[in-house]
Symmetry: C2
Amino acid sequence: MDKYKVIEVKESIFADNDKDADRLREQLKEQKTYLLNLMSSPGSGKTTTLKAVLGKLKDEMNVGVMEADIDSDVDAATMQELGVKTIQLHTGGMCHLDADMTRQGINEFGTEGLDLVVLENVGNLVCPAEFDTGAVKSIMILSVPEGHDKPLKYPLIFQVCDALIINKIDVLPYFDFDMEKVEEYAHMRNPKLKIFPISAKTGEGVDALCDWLRNEVKEWQK
Amino acid sequence: MDKYKVIEVKESIFADNDKDADRLREQLKEQKTYLLNLMSSPGSGKTTTLKAVLGKLKDEMNVGVMEADIDSDVDAATMQELGVKTIQLHTGGMCHLDADMTRQGINEFGTEGLDLVVLENVGNLVCPAEFDTGAVKSIMILSVPEGHDKPLKYPLIFQVCDALIINKIDVLPYFDFDMEKVEEYAHMRNPKLKIFPISAKTGEGVDALCDWLRNEVKEWQK
């Protein structure tokens, strides 16, 4: 496998991000590629979750990962080791990706033939939520050590996501984290939000997440 | 104690944030108030750390807290319960505070007579690091569950901070967190960075942090 590319994405020159996002989704629909936008705080376990999920899905469909980072290749190297087609996007200090930056990544990556591409967005609960990346769906991770009050403090990201992964449930005994409360607060922000409690480390709950994603890809490719 | 005020801070109309920041520092020097800018990811334990530190310092000096949040009063209510003078700043969706927003907070707060004010910045490792708030020093928290690779992935915040708190050391046995590596990576970004490993929950390491802060305030008031 060739080493992953690293590209420097530039801020969009287009004013209308929502139109850009719609155009990108049309392109993805045509080529039957499902793009999933994955958002979270730094350190919630995005990369470990991707390893767990894509480790299971990569033998049944063609998968790829776009790693967006301000300035490192740590995660791209990890995904490459897993044998998943990977590209590293450097945002040059930018705190989020917009649809045009995502399109630059998609076009450089060469996603024809890929069934599923996951965009690992910059670790940040605020800014990435403000921009439609052009992905088919958005999903976020909240990890147990971060606390169950996060839907109260970062409302927008819970509103714009289709699914919420609650990661690191293996350490629930060591933290004051109330699973009922987090579900209540999250559904207060977004009643349709699907919730998947998992431990990416032990594998608990990962099958349910894979089932959902497998079905999402199938529906998109119809 | 009166209930804390909640104010909506507005984005600065001034172009030169660095000059604003210097002006605010001059004002603070004159009134002998030490302003500490506290930054971290969501969920790293900023509020719990403040409870542990200010719980110790509040009987020997006049302390206050400015809680910056996008849209909630959760942390302000917690600090108020501790008996610490508190103001809540709402950023209206903004991912950071600049010097003028901080000044609006300081002036509304009425910080005359306060020796130490802590600004709890928006939970975010990216954007707050880009703006000098006018604080005397900046400090950040990285918590054990976030992982030791964060100085590689979020370089700027480690560069601009004067001290790094490594929080949640009580859960070290349950995470793959390498204390030597995090110190090596952090010092690679900033050789002068002071590092305080603590558990805000159990109180371990908090005294050393209080000693540093007490001395900082003393030097500022000379």
